[in-house]
């Protein structure tokens, strides 16, 4: 039991290690550009947000976004590639491992990749901001990243399982993933939303992730409601990913 999942995870980590430099450069490009242009370049034009400078305000969101997007991308494209292009999923399936092993292996791989990429970006940004965050706050922040990576890795695997055409996978990213990330108060405080819209925004799990994680990192406060919302989302997306993969495989 689980041998298959571990084999698959090890394989994915070997491939990730091999491309470490390229992966790290790619993953750093957007958050660093954003940080430099908006956080530093426009610093003088943007006032303090919720008591901190804008540069500090966006750091948690940039890290979270990198982590969950990487988890989603790696899972979705990984699953799609192995299923449709290389057909390696078929090869996995004639070995004495279960379909459950395969999906678990893939989810854990996506999670690890997202988490590691988040850490890389996190370290870079923390360095640029002069390590102004408290260690304890950092730990509670990691809990959010952890849950976020699980959710997005499961959702990515789900999309990679259900979607056969690459252009449709790209569409899901543009139409669903990016909006729910950007709407969730990633680059501005939720208080900027009119009261009539706020409840809807708050019901998106990504709000729990981005708003919750920022609060955690900046003030160390843990929002129980947010964490509950994220845990439930993680459980649901996990079961959906596993169920749909099993269904797809067993026809």
């Amino acid at each position: 039991m689980m041998r298959g999942a571990i084999c698959i995870w090890q394989r994915d980590m070997l491939v990730l290690r091999r491309n470490l430099f390229a992966e790290a450069t790619t993953v750093l490009a957007f958050p660093l550009t954003f940080f430099l242009t908006f956080g530093l370049g426009l610093k003088g034009y943007i006032q303090e947000v919720e008591g901190v400078s804008y540069a500090i305000f966006v750091v948690p969101g940039l890290i979270s976004m990198t982590a969950v997007l990487a988890a989603f991308d790696d899972s979705a494209w990984g699953m799609w590639f192995h299923r449709i292009v290389q057909k390696t999923i078929e090869e996995y399936r004639v070995n004495p491992i279960t379909v459950f092993d395969i999906i678990i292996g893939k989810i854990i791989s996506g999670f690890t990749s997202g988490f590691l990429k988040g850490l890389v970006v996190g370290l870079a940004l923390l360095f640029l901001t002069g390590f102004q965050f408290k260690l304890l706050f950092l730990l509670s922040y990691l809990l959010y990243i952890f849950l976020g990576c699980i959710i997005f890795s499961c959702l990515g695997s789900l999309c990679g399982t259900l979607i056969d055409k690459p252009e449709n996978l790209g569409r899901i990213e543009a139409v669903v993933v990016m909006p729910i990330i950007f709407l969730a108060g990633l680059f501005f405080p939720l208080s900027a939303y009119p009261d009539s819209i706020l409840p809807y925004i708050k019901s998106i799990p990504t709000t729990a992730l981005f708003d919750g994680s920022r609060i955690a990192l900046l003030s160390g406060k843990m929002d129980v409601f947010y964490l509950l919302q994220l845990s439930i989302s993680a459980v649901i997306s996990f079961f959906l990913a596993v169920r749909m993969f099993e269904k797809k495989m067993h026809g």
Binding site: R3, G4, C7, Q10, R11, L14, V15, R18, Q86, K87, T88, E90, E91, Y92, R93, V94, N95, P96, I97, T98, H250, G251
Partner: protein, 312 residues
């Protein structure tokens, strides 16, 4: 404990439907242990569908199948621990080197490094890939990829091998080498192979089943199958140019069972003896180079039974 079974593979009324399309229709047969069994059929006959069901990739719509004595649906994991599989497509991992592909497979089978390293060395050398073991398979020619896929299926020394067109894309030398290896397994391992290559079926298989449109149309040893065709009359005719024209003319004649063009020779199968005279009358004698009578090949049997030629 391995339960001793006479038949390593057993199909009982297996059917697979894709919507309204019946890819495999009510197929039943058995393959005794140690035998090389060949499944012959034209494109779309249902060979791959059958292999996919026996290797637990697809569930039969109805009927049941057993591999190594285990139900392919209810004891799929047991079945998978006994089989080695070469699927029709080269499904290699292009992000792993040739050797890593094999190691990954060994790990999936729970083999320890002390066992799999020597085994992989042997297989790489057998397949002539030792020099290229550190390369990624997308840098390989199609034939080299195929050899690696075959090697991968052999890493864990499976009791039962399923090979879906194992030698397509291979040059004659590589083909021969792999055939010899399969022959050396005869009696010790059970091999289920699908092929379009008559020579392959003739050379390797103890038992051949021809399927068409999802159902078996004949089965037996290669010589039994050829005997079936002996009631037909086969000739090869060579003409000067205009072979295509003659071929089309022949195909319209009522006493011709089938006619085809191969290496410049028109191969005909007559429906009854004595119609050769009428056939020759159709040819302008200035065009005629020669006429040979010949023994039926598996290809002829195939053509006779399915009315179609095999892709080759």
């Amino acid at each position: 404990m391995i339960v001793p079974v006479e038949n390593e593979i057993e199909l009982k009324n297996v059917t697979k439907a894709y919507g309204s399309l019946m890819a495999v229709k009510d197929v039943s047969f058995t393959v005794p242990r140690g035998m090389v069994f060949g499944l012959l059929g034209p494109n779309g006959a249902g060979k791959t569908t059958l292999v996919n069901m026996l290797t637990t990739l697809l569930k039969p719509t109805s009927g049941s199948a057993f591999v190594g004595g285990h139900d392919v649906v209810r004891a799929a994991a047991r079945v998978r621990s006994l089989i080695g599989v070469v699927l029709q497509e080269n499904n290699l991992d292009r992000y792993l080197t040739a050797r890593e592909n094999l190691i990954f497979h060994a790990k999936m089978h729970g083999m320890p490094p002390s066992t799999y390293h020597p085994r992989i060395d042997d297989l790489l050398s057998l397949m002539g890939l030792t020099e290229r073991q550190k390369d990624f398979p997308n840098k390989f020619s199609v034939g080299m990829q195929r050899r690696l896929v075959v090697a991968r299926a052999l890493v864990h020394d499976p009791r039962i091998l399923f090979l879906d067109e194992p030698t397509t894309g291979l040059d004659p030398q590589a083909k021969r080498m792999i055939w010899d290896y399969f022959l050396s397994l005869k009696g010790k391992r059970t091999i289920f192979l699908t092929t379009h290559n008559m020579e392959e079926a003739d050379f390797l298989c103890d038992q051949i089943t021809i399927i068409d449109h999802g159902s078996p149309v004949a089965s037996g040893t290669a010589s039994q199958l050829k005997e079936m065709a002996e009631s037909s009359w086969f000739y090869e005719i060579e003409v000067d140019g205009r072979s295509d024209e003659y071929l089309r003319a022949f195909q319209r004649l009522p006493f011709i069972e089938s006619a085809s063009l191969e290496d410049g020779m028109i191969r005909v199968c007559l429906k009854k003896e004595g119609s050769l005279g009428s056939l020759v009358e159709q040819i302008d004698l200035r065009d005629l180079r020669r006429i040979n009578s010949r023994k039926p090949s598996l290809e002829d049997v195939f053509l006779k039974l399915t009315g179609r030629r095999l892709r080759q």
